[in-house]
Subunit: 496 residues, 2 copies
């Protein structure tokens, strides 16, 4: 009976409250919220004829932002794909999600056309957006809004099913945590195919802020956009912050408009964190989360960043999300004890698309088992200890070791392979492989073998070839910790 | 599948995040959030034995605040009663809601014992709270949390059914609109039996702010509490603001701790609004709403209060609530056109308790028909024009004319009666009756007749006795506008 709202609400609110205010600047165009709502309504009128699940393959753009505002609002499902993936990977996702039509930007059009599905370009999208607008029909809050692919622990990517309620709840959690206002100017350069990249799209729209869309992260372009647009807010992956600070133009750039920057999506090295706090004269906040939580879980506030003792924490749960540190039997642990993070709230995903097995493993009694290993202090602040899932985070991208190991094992000369992360100044971690051969191959050939099959960011940066078998436990499991240890000696392997 | 949360979440969050921080100061006691959670858990352990629907009859107190935090959190329903009502009225509500047990403060104990239901005192409540705490069991978001009585348009009070989701949504809307923080110190002196009085209890708890509970509004006590507690936030009914400004101690009081005050629940006269803005050196915000919307609908922000053109507005819808101005046929009207306010959102009530007829009339396709007549401007700001419901707001209390008319008509000497509001300097409006007799009675006798049957604030302050029949429309309906007009000539009858 209760109407909880759907993903059409933020834009409807902004169009009614801030209709004549600038909404989006993208690709040289500027639109008010009234104009944006008309374009989204134009797309909505055409969506019925396009299909049920709409894929997207492209950099950030006006059309890409509109896809998030239009596709779920008109009762369709957005499948936003990571364009850095290989054709094989993308083809798997398009087929797995039964995508009906794929929107692609000019740069990705050729790839899109190899995926076995109808493709429309951003120019065609633009024509749809110019059509006669219709009003959103109203959608159940529990309805599926988006399928967002994430690496699977079994080696195959899995589609995270996010409902309207999930994404609206996340927007509210971010509104409460950050306090968006109509006076904000947000820079969007994190890729929109990551839910972290769109987390602030709905929140900023609801608040009536101005949104500046950059196609991708580029340090010079970001510095120029901050100056030109007088940007007040931006979200970074730590790797981006390092690139920005290292950029020769950083010191001369006028960043005086910035009021608040956030970093998220991967661990930050303490030295980088220090550099950021020294270099930026504005609020700095950290968010921790994952696609399955749409994504925000915890928040290290600007105030926390002024407290040395808190800097090593990934923050405390935001209002609206519950977190428990639990032992192997599912028992809630006391502060200080180390266990797995279980997460609950209206933001937690519906489950994995077509994977009831994986869903049942991941969601237990309404709690999402994150796989991350952490401890909480007496005031609820979380400290990451390790990732239970065998995962590498490199430059903000998650790489599941098992997927890379499976590709390596496919090579005829490989007897066994272990893949893990090693410290990397720029990327946080880099993908490294240890391989035992029973045929003829060198590191270069193995890397090339991987490059043809998986996304570039998953391909090992370095391969060590061994003659003896890998160290194993009594149960025959490769002792990856033993392989990993020498690389991390003296390094702080903080993960988030 | 999605766990949307329940009313145990704000306190659980605060206890985990701000356990050692002061939560409540009430009646000379101060508790931390950890202590408050333990007491609420102690009450929770005992609630199972008390019944399904727990009534409350009392001034603001620690127990009263705990009732809101404990009763819904442990799956029971709170029926918080307006202690200003007459015994007949209270008895009707206790019976209508099938209250199982009534918690009463010492001052209301005698009245409570005449209502035909088991009574426990606040001293007994205190003993329950000291018991061994248990954890909240988890409750469905759609479950009934509270029944809050409001005057009925048919003359009988109706119980507004508010779910966990309704009250949580309202808390989130207030968190987003006001931006509560852990550094806030909120004064609670608006009566907690009004949902407006508790609106900020859940929001402030979620944010971990400190809450100072005063038993009731008293100008001297409020001024003293602001000084003593260094209060930062408070909510007023306009009448209270007038009393505060008129108080001889106002000019000498140290109000420097105040950062933000709100007014709500009734219209504010432009002169009073001006005085408030001149007298308080802090943010001033207005909220408009009603019990059926749990209650927040629209918000005139502090920034709006610095814009002369906006001062006459009751604000624009908060993010999360949709409002439409509709014509008599239910058609959405354009900005500037006058119509009825229809309201939609996760905060809108489940319906009226045991009154499917009234529910079906009030909630149409998920929209709540408020009965208030207003117009919206181009930016969504709402301007009240009139109330469709024949209702008087006097000192923040709603009085339905039909209820008073029915009581007057019950008097053997009364042939017909019309009741409406007339301007009143302190209360905004005062209840006035025009009566035609066919027997022997005077104004005093009629007032006394009412006083025995209905709450003091509903009793006519003045009664005019006429010899000729009341003016009527062709359909025989009393033309109340004609009766009302002479009183309002030259007055600005702003209503909200």
């Amino acid at each position: 009976m209760t109407v909880a709202g759907d993903l059409s609400w933020p834009l409807a609110h902004a169009a009614s409250r801030f209709g004549d205010a600038p909404a989006v600047a993208a690709g040289g165009r500027t639109l008010t919220y009234a104009e944006l709502a008309r374009r989204v309504g134009g797309v909505g009128a055409a969506l019925g004829g396009l299909g049920e699940r709409i894929g997207y393959l492209g950099a950030n753009s006006l059309a890409h932002l509109e896809a998030w505002l239009a596709v779920p609002a008109f009762g369709r499902v957005l499948v936003d794909l990571n364009f850095r993936l290989s054709i094989d990977e993308l083809a798997f996702m398009v087929q797995d999600a039964a995508v009906d039509v794929l929107v692609a930007d000019a740069e990705r059009r050729d790839v899109a056309q190899q995926l076995g599905v109808d493709v429309i370009g951003e120019d065609e999208w633009d024509a749809l957006a110019a059509g006669t607008p219709v009003s959103p029909p109203g959608v159940e809050a529990a309805a599926l809004a988006a399928i967002s692919y994430t690496g699977g622990t079994t080696g195959r990517p899995m589609g995270v099913m996010l409902s309207h309620e999930n994404l609206l709840a996340n927007a509210r959690h971010n509104l409460i945590a950050t306090g968006h206002t109509a006076n904000d100017v947000w820079l969007h350069f994190c890729p929109m195919f990551h839910v972290a990249g769109t987390a602030n799209v709905f929140a900023c729209t609801w608040a009536g802020g101005r949104q500046v869309v950059l196609p991708r992260f580029d340090p010079a372009a970001v510095l120029a956009a901050i100056e030109r647009e007088r940007a007040t807010h931006a979200v970074f992956v730590p790797t981006m912050l390092a690139m920005l600070l290292d950029h020769p133009g950083f010191d001369a750039a006028d960043l005086s408009s910035l009021r608040h920057i956030q970093y998220a999506a991967s661990p930050i090295a303490p030295e980088l964190q220090r550099r950021v706090l020294d270099a930026f004269d504005c609020d700095v906040a950290q968010f921790y989360g994952m696609t399955e939580a749409a994504p925000t879980v915890s928040h290290l506030t600007p105030q926390d960043h002024r407290d040395e003792e808190r800097l090593g924490s990934m923050g405390a749960p935001v209002a609206g999300v519950q977190v428990q540190v639990r032992g192997p039997q599912g028992d809630a642990l006391a502060p200080g004890e180390i266990g797995e993070l279980w997460i609950r709230g209206p933001n937690v995903m519906l489950g994995y698309w077509n994977r009831p097995d994986a869903t049942a493993e991941a969601i237990v009694d309404g709690w999402y088992r994150s796989g991350d290993i952490a401890r909480a202090d007496e005031r609820g602040y979380l400290y990451m200890v390790d990732r239970a899932k065998d995962m590498i985070i490199t430059g903000g991208e998650n790489v599941y070791s098992i997927e890379v190991e499976a590709v390596l094992a496919d090579h005829p000369a490989v007897r066994e392979a272990a893949v893990f992360g090693v410290p990397h100044e720029r990327w946080g971690e880099a993908v490294h492989a240890v391989v035992v051969l029973d045929g003829d191959a060198d590191a270069e050939a193995l890397i090339e073998h991987c490059r043809r099959r998986i996304a570039g960011f998953k391909v090992p940066r370095s391969v060590e070839i061994r003659n003896e078998a890998l160290p194993k436990s009594g149960a025959g499991k490769v002792l990856k910790s033993e392989l990993r240890e020498p690389f991390w000696h003296g390094h702080d392997r903080r993960v988030s």
